[in-house]
Assembly symmetry: C2
Homo-oligomer: 420 residues x 2
């Protein structure tokens, strides 16, 4: 996508022309997106792939209603953790047997933290960003409180120069590949190298990178990874997350959520636990089959997609939004919170404004769906699979109008409630 760099921002017609040249334009048709809505929350909950409706109806009406209990095998419900895991592994630069789709992200963080610590006898610190997504921090708390006798504790700081905390005592580093507040992309490969240099292991939380930017777990050389399927992977509300373990660690770790699904031979009903092979040792309980079918539909959309090309479009969209906002909105008190360099963000554009909450509400009233995070952050999830250049142009223009007219001052936009 080439665009003449002038002092004037692109016009709406320019944006329409960019859509005409967009090699991913046809992907939008694979999603249900209501006319007139500009959806900029795909970083929180991805929109619905159309194919999910038929797939889940089939799961209910055929597999459950008619197949009944036999569908655990015949419809593949029981092995969905692995089947979906292998498909997702392909998208994330990993191999078969290394990744399982299962459980919420927090539970996967808990399991991989324990797994990493079990491989690091004598080392007592977990290093993480103090500004991490809260679940990551809460789960570290859960682990450290339980392992207080081992003196396991958290060392955290803002992500800048976090590698200064890595030392001979670091058992494991838990890093967010992308900062959920700003969309900033971390150099996970470089950080992993530094962690490995002192013998620490790395867990990469890819919740805000999987499906948004190219992720290559093998090349990044991380030891474990966890992630979410309902953001950029569009798999439906609360669809199961996933956990990855590098093949070099298979069979070498322990984690305490030793449920029957992760047993080496679950249908033997043995009284003693024996962990399954590879990533199966990270499984615990029975998974919600109907929600898991959503992951299958979510992954269908990515079939045949080159993530580098998709991210290139994402950066173009993100640049367009940044250009327009700089020209139109900075004079009204909007400040950039995301990195200015588009190569350092995952597409997401985060802004700050002291009246961020009311501005987000005013935009929602105009059918521009972004979100707000305390204390003053406006987040726009810029996602290249289904957003058009003209959507971005229109969204920025709505923001300009909301600021110019000061319609965000309206009382109805200033009643605070539980925010999603």
């Amino acid at each position: 996508m080439t665009r003449t760099n002038t002092t004037m921002p692109p016009s709406r017609e320019d944006a329409i022309e960019m859509d005409r040249q967009d090699p991913f334009a046809h992907k939008r048709d694979e999603f249900f997106l209501e006319d007139g809505i500009i959806y900029l929350c795909g970083n929180s909950l991805g929109p619905m792939p159309k194919s999910v409706v038929g797939k889940i109806e089939h799961t209910m009406k055929e597999d459950w209603a008619r197949g009944l209990v036999t569908s655990w095998n015949k419809a593949g419900w029981f092995m969905m953790t692995d089947i979906l895991g292998d498909r997702l592994a392909t998208l994330l630069g990993a191999g078969p047997g290394e990744l399982v789709v299962s459980d919420a992200t927090g539970i996967n963080i808990y399991k991989t933290l324990h797994a990493a610590i079990s491989m690091q006898p004598g080392r007592t610190t977990i290093v993480s960003e103090a500004t991490s997504f809260p679940t990551d921090l809460y789960m570290i708390e859960g682990v450290t409180s339980l392992l207080a006798h081992m003196d396991i504790k958290l060392e955290g700081r803002d992500a800048d120069n976090i590698e200064e905390l890595f030392d001979q005592n670091t058992a494991v580093v838990l890093l967010n590949q992308v900062d959920y507040r700003t969309g900033e992309v971390r150099d996970i490969t470089g950080l992993t190298k530094k962690a490995h240099a002192v013998g620490a292991l790395v867990i990469s939380d890819v919740c805000h990178s999987a499906g948004a930017i190219p992720v290559n777990l093998h090349k990044e050389n991380v030891d474990f990874a966890v992630g979410c399927t309902y953001k950029y992977l569009n798999s439906g509300p609360g669809a199961p997350g996933f956990a990855y373990v590098a093949p070099r660690h298979h069979g070498k770790f322990k984690q305490p959520l030793t449920g029957w699904h992760g047993h080496a031979d679950p249908f033997k009903f043995e009284q003693t636990y024996r962990p399954g092979v590879g990533a199966r040792a990270l499984l615990s309980g029975t998974q919600p089959a109907i929600s898991a079918v959503g992951v299958s539909a979510g992954l269908d959309v990515f079939e045949g997609i080159d993530m580098h090309a998709l991210f290139a479009k994402g950066k173009d969209l993100s640049s367009l939004m940044a250009d327009l906002i700089e020209h139109w909105c900075e004079p009204h008190g909007i400040r950039f919170y995301s990195p200015r360099d588009v190569n350092h963000r995952n597409g997401q554009v985060s802004l700050t404004h002291e009246n961020g909450y009311a501005i987000v509400q005013a935009l929602i009233a105009r059918n521009v769906i972004g979100d707000y995070r305390q204390p003053d952050v406006i987040r726009f999830g810029v996602t290249p699979l289904y957003l058009r250049y003209v959507d971005i142009w229109d969204a920025a223009n709505h923001l300009r109008e909301v600021l110019e007219t000061e319609e965000w001052k309206d009382e109805r936009f200033n009643i605070k409630q539980l925010v999603t």
Copy 2:
């Protein structure tokens, strides 16, 4: 249901007459059940309530597709753990705020074990049946391996006289209210009294009692309970389980799966974990909304049902099956594995036969769906919401024919594969 006790077993016409008098006969219409199938695996996976299809379609096409991220609030996804929990609490003799619908059973066992141990400083044993459902044992292993420094260990034995293991050192007793192999109902109230007498806490696993027999968590006076929704509660494959904590313990325990969903104020994104009130402190991560909607449909079927009356029908069905099998099948080497006294079983009829596997396969070929458990157990889930007396008669008659003709000897019924 009265039936003359004669030496002759009831005829098929008798069974049809029993169906005519059955006050629950109309409930069968609320389920999808294919003609000609006799489904005796509701103890493993309940059949599909018809209403689930429309509910899940609405969740996809309206709440997800159109409501998008706002549905976490507007469609109630975020609080579904509590809303469904309060509804289920009513069915199980508990109050609002005491029960949450969330996570797989194994994970709930893990959380409640830690919660109970956190309230019992100095006590070091977990008592459970050595013949418990494997997930219970595996999770105890997970906890004891983690708490080895506290010398926490399992003491287990067959369920008979398990109370002999309760002593001043018992931190927590994990009991299955119903034995999954035999359907035997334990005197959970009596056992809890004995456990409390020595200061031990009780976790009741109600996977095979919730929805099958009257459960009254308050009267039973258990401290915690965990259970499953996809067996007798018919909520769909892998639908979320649940966890209960008695109100006297609210705010007094700790569990280590401290995910953001259980935080006292999840949308404040605080860096430090503060547990939510009541049973919310047992929550961890985001739940699979689409699968959770299945729990809503499953509970609809129980609205207005008197569990004592429903269990009375369950016992009648179970007695009918036992009578017929005694008359027809014991001469062919079938042995009772369930308790003979119908008041001591949850409806389930378990039998043993050295060729149990092949017999179950031969029955499946006749559209009688039971299941097999190693080494020689044939299980029939007798569930009063949707089974007719005539179904039970026909099932017993099929078993008689399979035994009399010895058709189970057919090679195709003797190829062992993964069993569900």
